[in-house]
């Protein structure tokens, strides 16, 4: 390709020190997290399975539980190219082609014994299902309960159709939280310790502050962060380790590094040509290839919705030790997928303005209806009602069979090509007198 002058100047790729130190620390945290499962002696600490959206980490942590997030295990498998094997196994168990890839990856992996290249996934003693924005959660946890015989606590989180929750919603959630606390007291033989919970919540809050500072760096021009691809890594502590001092400290390191980037002019790309908002779950199986498609065009994601699946902290929410249960309830309601389409549309429109995004790229997931059903309408709304150039592409988050690189690349090329052309035309019109 060397003798072809392609329309965009092919960028030199990521600056060398971009994504270095914090990334190393993140790797260490991940290793420690999975490593802990292997090293816990018999009798080990109790293990609860939980979902990222609307999770109740703090409460479980205050009872000394280790928490496993099957979604995260699944995405780690996918990043390491181990998802297909699990998915195929799940299909042989009878899970259909169109079942969510997370579910198939996880249930396939469980049935194969839970061994991954990054550690052994322990069996659950308790299944906490936060039904917060995805119905598949309910079915998934039902399946886990049936295969493990572990008790299932269903934490039913009302769907958000108005920006502020109703009083009844909060009351319903708080009541359920107390029921969970009683269940945990019974199972662990420990008394609930409100002070411990408050302490954990304070740590959560500190991590949340740091995480939001990181996300907001995307508002700078040029952006020192990659809000989509980089966040995929940096989401781990906020979702999984929230409530531990380590998580909060992690964001201190990250933000220090972001400040250094600004100081040293060390940006994700040498030249930020396009600022984009990315909506949707990433294609974990091929995220590097996908990232390259952006880089090639000088496109940096300055804001993304996916990092908000664990909560819309950047829109103001914080866990609050002075209102422990109420704030946990509000947290669960605030998962990104738990927002109705009118609310999602508003969030996205706000982001486009706040982060000065030039365009939106929607990545639809074949097997995730919760996120995806209606993204076509979103695209239509962005283009026609908001005047924001938007591209819709589709693959899968877990199943490499549905990632068609040539097709995706073709679309992204054409999209950025047209953005560039329009920009050139506008510039020419601006320059030409009259």
């Amino acid at each position: 390709m060397s003798d072809v002058v392609s329309a965009p100047a092919v960028s030199g790729g990521v600056s060398r020190s971009f994504l270095r130190d914090a990334r190393g620390l993140q790797r260490k945290l991940v290793e420690e997290y999975y490593g802990a499962f292997a090293s816990v002696d018999q009798p080990r600490r109790p293990v609860a399975y939980m979902l990222v959206g609307g999770n109740l980490t703090e409460i479980l942590r205050s009872f000394g539980y280790d928490v496993v997030f099957p979604e995260i295990v699944a995405l780690n498998c996918a990043i390491k190219h181990q998802s297909l094997e699990n998915i195929l196994h799940a299909e042989s168990l009878g899970y259909g082609l169109d079942v969510c890839g997370y579910v198939k990856n996880d249930l396939g992996l469980q049935d194969l014994g839970g061994k991954t290249s990054f550690g052994q996934i322990p069996r659950p003693d308790l299944l906490v299902c936060s039904f917060s924005g995805c119905y598949v959660y309910v079915k998934w946890w039902e399946a886990l309960a049936e295969s493990y015989g572990a008790p299932l606590f269903m934490f039913d989180v009302p769907y958000m159709r108005e920006e502020t929750p109703r009083q009844e919603d909060i009351a319903y959630l708080v009541s359920q939280l107390w029921e969970l606390v009683h269940l945990l007291e019974k199972r662990t033989g420990r008394a609930f310790d409100m002070n411990e919970l408050k302490r954990v919540l304070a740590e959560s809050r500190r991590a949340e502050d740091g995480w939001v500072e990181f996300l907001r760096a995307g508002r700078l021009r040029p952006s020192p962060i990659e809000a989509y691809f980089e966040s995929i890594f940096y989401m781990f502590p906020i979702n999984v380790l929230r409530g531990t001092p380590g998580a909060a400290d992690f964001y201190d390191v990250v933000n220090e590094e972001v400040r250094a980037r600004v100081r040293d002019g060390n940006y994700p790309l040498p030249e930020e040509k396009f600022r984009v908002l990315v909506e949707g779950v990433p294609p974990y199986t091929n995220y590097r290839t996908f990232w390259d498609f952006f880089r090639k065009w000088g496109a940096v994601s300055v804001v993304a919705t996916y990092p908000k699946v664990g909560g819309l902290f950047d829109r103001g929410f914080r866990h609050d030790p002075s209102r422990p249960f109420e704030s946990i309830a509000e947290y669960s309601l605030g998962a990104y997928v738990n927002q109705s389409w009118p609310l999602r549309r508003k969030i996205i429109a706000d982001y486009v303005k706040e982060y000065q995004a030039d365009a939106v790229i929607i990545h639809g997931i074949k097997s995730c209806r919760s996120f995806t059903a209606g993204q076509g309408d979103l695209r239509d709304w962005l283009i026609h009602d908001q005047g924001v150039p938007t591209l819709y592409i589709e693959s899968d988050h877990q199943d490499p069979r549905y990632f068609a690189p040539a097709q995706i690349k073709n679309r992204m090329d054409a999209f950025f090509e047209s953005l560039e052309q329009r920009r050139a035309v506008a510039a020419a019109a601006g320059a030409a007198p009259g």
Binding site: V138, E168, R345, G376
Partner: protein
């Protein structure tokens, strides 16, 4: 497209089933009130289904009534009814609807019912409705509501959050609050306040319908040769498309005829059909199941009429309605099951004395797909044969389906 249903004018008393205050049954329903034989009713039902313009709803409107479209399964139609509005089951666009715009708005890997429902909204076919209710039975139905607010901004659409925690004491009060949010919108559409008395009356009307539906279900289970699956289905399907006051007497007449029918009991295998609790298979497919030598003695078709056995009006009818959802003993794939799936399916097989299970799941219907695995394990444990097939609202060739159904029947019949 078949001709519109011809509806003549008619004036007279309703022969059966009394309309509650404020409801007047349009004379346009004469064909249904007069239809005497099952054959005639089935014919009328087919005409209604073949017409995507909702002829029965239009007829209702000509008499000045309002109509609310209800997505399956757990929409509290009684609430709509208590406002003297017609609750109409929205169950897809059928075989004659071309999908061209909904695909783009919704996405490619989604069930047909969601696409056809949106297509109807985009092409004006839902104009006879004054509002819509989407229960949270899955992420697709839930998201549809959010899209409806954009594509049909003048017609209120409401998403009802159905709780999944059935043990919390806070669940029923929460669901009552959910109903109240819906009631607020219904009050605005109907232009009158909610009345618990009217709701109590509506609960009784629906109980009457439920009892009849149950009688038909029992007949199909105990004497499957007396009523074909297609007849059975169409009789139920009409229930969501006619004013209840018209459907109830019609169903009563039909059941009386069917119970008295003399037909030969064929040497067919007894199967139960699980999965089509939301999107509905085509009539051809239903017929094919019995054509290859199966009797369907249990099913999940038209669950909107039978997601709970009966609702006692009680002192607070709204609370009773909520209680019925939370405490219903009926397991469907779109309600987190308190029992285990294994026990549930074996109990259903035993109750129907079934020899096999046919999983008939709508293509891309994730809740149904996920259940199949747990059911399958339980059936294998007992050595019970099963077959899993997917269907869509639209299909013209049934070769693959026939091949699999025949094999299934042969595998049970042949030694």
């Amino acid at each position: 497209m078949p001709e519109l249903l011809k509806i003549g004018s008619w004036a007279g008393d309703l022969p059966d089933g009394e309309a509650p205050a404020g409801i007047e049954i349009s004379p346009d329903f004469r064909e249904f009130t007069e239809a005497e034989s099952v054959e005639r009713i089935v014919h009328l039902a087919q005409e209604v289904l073949a017409d995507p313009t909702f002829p029965t709803v239009r007829a209702w409107r000509t008499a000045g009534g309002k109509a609310i479209g209800c997505f399956p399964v757990y929409t509290p139609q009684e609430l709509v009814h208590s406002f003297a509005m017609m609750p109409v089951a929205i169950q897809g666009g059928g075989e004659n609807l071309e999908i061209s715009r909904a695909d783009a708005a919704l996405g490619s890997f989604l069930c047909s019912i969601s696409k056809s429902t949106l297509e109807m909204a985009l092409t004006g076919l839902l104009d006879p409705f004054d509002g819509f209710v989407f229960p949270y039975i899955c992420d697709v139905s839930r998201n549809l509501d959010g899209i409806f607010t954009r594509v049909l901004p003048q017609r209120p659409s409401h998403m009802l959050h159905l709780p999944q925690n059935f043990t919390s004491p806070a669940t029923i009060p929460f669901l009552v609050a959910e109903y109240r949010s819906l009631i607020e919108k219904l009050e605005r559409v109907a232009g009158r306040p909610f009345s618990p008395e009217d709701l109590r009356a509506s609960l009784e009307v629906f109980n009457e319908q439920r009892a009849l539906v149950d009688r038909l279900v029992v007949l199909k289970r105990d004497a499957p040769w007396k009523v074909t699956l297609v007849e059975y289905y169409l009789l139920l399907r009409l229930g969501g498309l006619l004013p209840r006051e018209v459907h109830i007497p019609l169903l009563r007449r039909a059941i009386a005829e069917l119970e008295g029918r003399e037909r030969k009991n064929k040497d067919a295998i007894r199967v139960i059909v699980l999965g089509p609790f939301c999107e509905q298979p085509t009539l051809e497919l239903l017929q094919l199941i019995e054509d290859v030598g199966c009797y369907v003695v249990g099913d999940e078709l038209q669950m909107l009429h039978r997601w709970c056995p009966r609702i006692e009006p009680g002192t607070d009818p709204l609370e009773s309605l909520a209680t019925s959802y939370v405490r219903t003993p009926v397991d469907i794939g779109v309600r987190s099951t308190p029992t285990t799936k294994a026990a549930a399916i074996l109990a259903r097989v035993d109750a129907a004395k079934a020899q096999g299970v046919l999983f008939l799941t709508a293509k891309f219907c994730e809740p149904a797909l996920e259940d199949v695995v747990l059911y399958r394990r339980a059936l294998e444990g007992r050595g019970l044969p099963y077959l899993h097939m997917e269907f869509e609202e639209k299909s013209t060739t049934y070769e693959q389906a026939r091949l699999q159904l025949e094999t299934f029947a042969e595998s049970i019949l042949f030694e």
